[in-house]
Symmetry: C2
């Protein structure tokens, strides 16, 4: 069992000693009385500790499509992205996910919720990189029932294989969206997830058009439709939720559905800019933050996402007190952990040791009047110095062991994707 002693680190407004034993936080004290022998010591001087971020929506291997076809219309962009994705094989998924994990570690994320293809290659990458991945095996039959059987078999097989994954990786069921998956398959996915105790990840009400289409097809909104199908519950984690009616929010609250807000993606793809944070919060709906994939939002930087999310709430509501820093930090850490059933996301004794150390000895932390403000509003994510996940150091002094190899292989794969 490894032991890590973080000596004299800034936690909020105080200086604390933190002891990590095994994969958990064993002690947080002003001054630890005794330090176990042979423990690894990290000097916390000029460093602040935060929970690791929980990125609640991404498509990690899409990092390989970063920056492709900028400034084009959504339909044109999608057509081009799909052509590239069609060329991605298991090797591409593996190195694309490694590249994504590298970026997430460098920017302070310790857990992420992924929805992409060939999840075993993604899991292999995550297992090696040392952070936590929830991997939604995607159901997408384009409402063609003849495709459903193979999809169900794949999900069942993935579940069987997932029993042997590292404890940091978890299987989830991905329903792409109500407009791309048949009702029958959605219901099967829901039943399977409930039977096995898995979360369900689904894209919901991302664009205004999909709500209009849902009204035309089903006579109700996507959330109302899922309610009729009987598939809503606390296991459902809904990405985007940009276009919500008051009744949609009531439904989400009633069934304990979690909302994942992906502001950069919603803005960049022009899906919508007025996320109903206050309304969801006030009805008791859990709101988390995500980056979406690099195809649409270009990076996996949760700190940047926090800033944009807060600025947009303040901006469109014309209220500078909207989305306060404490709520923002909770949405980026504890709320995600809670939605995933992960005993992390906050710094307390007994919690899993998923945490980051931020270097405060730089211009962005002068003056240091409000530490969270410095981190979220003034700094960029290069201040993330050390990342610990499940009690293991995955980055120290900004060094991730395999960085060079990952960049080289990701470049090699991209060369194949774009030059052939």
């Amino acid at each position: 069992m490894s032991t890590i002693y973080i000596k004299g680190v800034t936690l909020g407004k105080e200086i604390k000693d933190i002891l990590i034993e095994g994969n958990k936080i064993a002690a947080i004290e002003d001054k630890l009385d005794s330090i176990p022998d042979n423990c690894r010591t990290i000097d916390g001087t000029s460093k602040a500790v935060f929970p690791g971020f929980v990125n609640m929506h991404t498509h990690s291997a899409m990092t390989l499509t970063r920056g492709y076809k900028e400034d084009t219309s959504l339909q044109e962009w999608l057509q081009e992205i799909w052509k590239v994705e069609a060329k991605m094989d298991e090797e591409a998924i593996y190195w694309g996910t490694k590249l994504a994990c590298l970026e997430m570690i460098k920017t302070g994320t310790t857990s992420f919720y992924d929805q992409y293809w060939m999840i075993d290659s993604a899991v292999k990458a995550v297992e090696e990189m040392g952070i936590r991945g929830w991997h939604a095996c995607v159901a997408l039959n384009l409402k063609d029932e003849s495709r459903s059987q193979a999809i169900k078999e794949e999900i069942i097989a993935a579940y069987e294989r997932s029993q042997k994954w590292n404890e940091r990786c978890r299987m989830s069921v991905g329903v792409h969206a109500p407009y791309t998956v048949s009702d029958e398959l959605i219901q099967w996915c829901s039943s399977f997830a409930r039977e096995k105790g898995l979360t369900v990840h689904i894209h919901m009400s991302e664009t205004e058009q999909e709500n209009i289409d849902s009204q035309n097809l089903n006579g109700c909104s996507p959330f109302e439709h899922l309610e009729r199908l009987g598939v809503l519950g606390p296991e459902v984690i809904a990405a985007h939720c940009v276009w919500l009616s008051e009744n949609d929010i009531n439904i989400m609250a009633k069934y304990g559905v979690t909302a994942v807000h992906n502001i950069n993606s919603n803005l960049k793809l022009a899906s919508g800019s007025r996320f109903l944070y206050n309304e969801l919060r006030d009805k008791g709906v859990r709101v988390c933050l995500g980056t979406d994939g690099c195809g649409s939002s270009n990076n996996l930087d949760m700190r940047e996402t926090m800033k944009t999310a807060a600025l947009l709430q303040k901006g469109w509501r014309r209220d500078p007190s909207a989305f306060k820093l404490q709520e923002l930090m909770q949405a980026a850490t504890a709320s995600g952990a809670e939605a995933l059933g992960l005993d992390a996301g906050e710094l307390a004794v007994g919690k899993l040791a998923d945490l980051i150390l931020v270097d405060t000895d730089n211009y962005a932390f002068v003056p240091q009047l409000d530490l969270v403000s410095n981190f979220v509003y003034s700094a960029n994510s290069s201040c993330v110095d050390t990342v610990i996940c499940n009690g293991e150091i995955v980055m120290e002094n900004r060094v991730v062991p395999d960085e060079k190899e990952i960049l080289e292989n990701a470049r090699r794969i991209c060369n194949k994707l774009y030059n052939n």
Copy 2:
């Protein structure tokens, strides 16, 4: 005369050698035939070159108010900020401006347009830091004419002193805003600036309320009012311009007024989120970008500002092709230089050597399908590796010589401001 040879650096889609002689770009070639003796050589491998950013609106010493009183209402925040500002002396302005320059250098800005008090202390800081500052000496009489004479004398005296400033620092006339400065003083400032060939920096139509107040007081918008006063011209650089009518835009176009868009500040203070970029551009109004001061926007990071500005245009217009990368880069560099009459802002032979080298050997530049996209949308500003201004290296390998001293003194000053 110093000579710098940048060997094999990425410029757009090509690899180039760049020669800087004195303060200008002397050559940009595929391969330079002969390198002058005794020149300083910079290896351009895994680096991309961009023009230095031109931050067209800030209050640099307000960096000392970074993070103060977050998430409060605008009026409450202003009351608190004013109390702190009242305590700032020449020493605070000096170190606050140094801290601001440090941050601007670290994030790739080589020129900035400042509007703040005690400009001689700010100029001293900028002269020492090696970048360029346009310093608007502020006129603000709260419409009390009894204050005007002293303000005029101060502006005249500052102009006399400015004749001895380093060539990188320029005097400008600052008119705080039409709602805080009397018509008579605005007209005097305009005449003085025209007589001396100076630019005029003014806050315009930042909030909806100031437009309503202008209608009540003058029966017209702030821009219509300035037109009646006869003070609009190509020397006028107007910060914010959030609330513009079609007629306001026509007026700006008619007189060649420059607009400075400060998206992060406008969102954070909840002033407004729908800047009329397309409408201004289509009428031929020059649009530049600025960060505003750290009191309202928390950092001076132009790259971040570019990203937020583009995301917001795409988002509120529901058009993913809005504010294209090339226009964004122009607004952050060449347009600002042009407005200030500075022969920089682009990479071409004969231009002033104000440029930055960006490290591309990291995750944010993999894949590298669109270099500007990588820099603006994927990276954070820690990729800025080397900054050259006026032909002199002000940062190399992210090292700014006086960094430690600046942080220490800024902390010391803040301790006095907030703990006494």
